[in-house]
């Protein structure tokens, strides 16, 4: 049969952001896929040439509207590492709490998008309704629902009172309870199992070979999570990464689903362990201009993000680079698409939780 090339994207019902895959088909089977990105390449890394390092964090936050807090945090941690700035303990805990709340809202967003993609509109609405509650928490504590601008080099801009933290935890725990029903549907609904089960199976060996990160790797049985390595106070948190072994689309959904209550529990632990009181220091401002290079690793909702920062002693950085988890997961996604049925391509692409804004910067 004659080979056919079908462009998938840049506009497609399952894609919130533009991505193109030229799918080369043999009948209904995909035999190759060629990615093209760049539709939303904004040149944010180039902006280090014109934006001073003290302001660049606000640009970095705008890499992505879902991971914006953790992008800002990663930038701040990188500069703190170069400039040897010790961050006050309460600020570190607040960062950890906001990071985990980010994970909750990101996974709820993805579960909703996933449900929408496989035609479960009701589930989509449930997930997004719950996500709105998490965004309310962000709005109340940082002032912004999407872009928070709360990270500073050396700490955080705003405190959250102990009573407010207790109220947030209560609200999150209620949400975790409400989410149990949604999780039960995800795990047991036969139409979801039929649509996602056994589709797009990534073996553990392939996950390693393609350098997959985050839930993508954990759904294939690999116990990997940057939080395990203890930085940013995670050494004081008791948690075990969520690992599934099936490696299919359903396993990737289940990993994210199970990580939601886990992140809420991490928030609980953080609130219990953080120093209490009003007026505690939140920021140690850096002095002078940074000199040096650093790599920073964080566990974003989609997996390990890597920042490279090179500073030359002026107020402008020489190089800033963000290697986002979606960028790292694209080779795995292409591997999965090869050999699958055309009808399964949307779900396979969606279950890597692609963030194209992050990928292109």
């Amino acid at each position: 049969m004659k080979k056919t090339i079908i462009p998938f994207g840049p506009q497609h019902p399952v894609l919130p952001e533009p991505l193109v895959l030229d799918l080369i088909l043999d009948d209904e089977k995909v035999i190759d896929a060629v990615p093209t990105i760049g539709y939303i390449h904004r040149g944010l890394e180039m902006m280090v040439e014109r934006v001073e390092y003290t302001e660049m964090g606000f640009v970095v936050e705008r890499i992505c509207g879902i991971c914006s807090f953790m992008h800002g945090m990663g930038y701040a941690v990188s500069l703190e590492s170069i400039m040897n700035v010790e961050v006050p303990e309460r600020a570190k805990w607040l960062r950890l709490i906001w990071a985990e709340i980010s994970r909750v809202q990101s996974h709820l967003l993805w579960l909703g998008l996933g449900a929408d993609a496989f035609g479960f509109e009701n589930l989509f609405m449930h997930c997004w309704r719950m996500r709105e509650e998490v965004l309310d928490i962000f709005e109340k504590t940082t002032g912004g629902r999407i872009i928070h601008s709360v990270n500073r080099i050396g700490g955080v801009k705003r405190d959250v009172s102990d009573s407010e933290l207790a109220a947030i935890l209560a609200r999150l725990q209620e949400l975790a309870k409400a989410f149990e029903e949604t999780a039960r549907i995800f795990a047991s609904d036969p139409s979801i199992a039929h649509r996602l089960g056994g589709v797009g199976v990534l073996s553990a060996a392939d996950a390693l070979e393609t350098a997959a990160v985050g839930p993508m790797a954990r759904a294939s049985g690999i116990r990997t999570d940057t939080r395990l390595y203890g930085a940013n106070l995670y050494d004081q948190i008791e948690f075990e990464p969520v690992v599934e072994t099936a490696g299919d689309c359903l396993a990737r959904a289940v990993v994210r689903m199970r990580e939601i209550p886990q992140s809420i529990d991490i928030v609980r632990q953080a609130i219990e362990k953080m120093p209490k009181g009003e007026g505690l220091p939140l920021e140690n401002k850096p002095r002078g201009n940074p000199v040096g290079e650093t790599f920073t690793r964080l566990e974003q909702p989609r997996g390990e993000v890597l920042y490279y920062v090179k500073a030359n002693g002026t107020k402008y950085l020489e190089r800033f680079r963000a290697r986002t988890p979606t960028f790292a997961n694209i080779p795995a996604m292409i591997k999965l698409v090869k050999g699958c049925d055309l009808a399964d391509v949307p779900n396979i692409i969606l279950t890597i939780d692609p963030c194209i804004s992050c990928t292109e910067r």
């Binding site: 990615p35 170069i82 390595y229 203890g230 790599f295 690793r297 292409i334």
Partner: protein, 164 residues
């Protein structure tokens, strides 16, 4: 760069169970005539909490061998380096032939492109970074740059099961 020892070292990481974490290019901004057009390329590998890298300075015209025979996922980074920095990466397993990014400016991060932008900014009075000037202290000369893996210290020994 010495091609064979480099590829052998990369393969050593592959056999040792390391994951390709990042390939990063950074144009070298310097007033030193001998270094004009140079790009520093860093291949970073991770194995749990461990994080190591190889750094090579690539001069204009140098060939950068693809590491995709060892790490198949390298193709995305290598195509990116070629498109954004103009590096001559050879032997990529998935050669996207300049189709990865749709940028209006070709090779926007090459040393010459950065120099041109910064000089244009200076001529137009736009506040921006500046190129180092010959005879003046080099940017960052006061303290040699050293790579320190941030935010990834060794796992706390007191916490069982903190690392694989």
């Amino acid at each position: 760069m010495d091609r064979e020892p480099f590829l052998a070292r990369v393969e050593g990481y592959h056999k040792g169970g390391w994951r390709l974490a990042l390939i990063n290019a950074a144009s070298v901004l310097t007033a030193d005539e001998a270094e004009q057009g140079a790009v520093d390329v860093t291949w970073a590998f991770a194995r749990d909490a461990e994080f190591e890298h190889i750094r090579e300075r690539i001069m204009p015209g140098d060939e950068v061998p693809s590491i995709s025979p060892s790490f198949s996922a390298a193709f995305l980074y290598e195509n990116e380096m070629r498109e954004l920095f103009g590096l001559n990466v050879t032997g990529i397993n998935v050669d996207l032939q300049g189709q990865l990014y749709k940028t209006s400016q070709k090779v926007p991060f090459s040393p010459s492109a950065i120099r041109a932008r910064l000089e244009a900014n200076a001529a137009a009075g736009i506040a921006s970074a500046t190129m180092p000037v010959a005879g003046a202290p080099a940017h960052g000369a006061a303290k040699p740059a050293a790579i320190a893996p941030a935010a990834a210290p060794a796992p706390a020994a007191s916490k069982p099961g903190a690392a694989e």
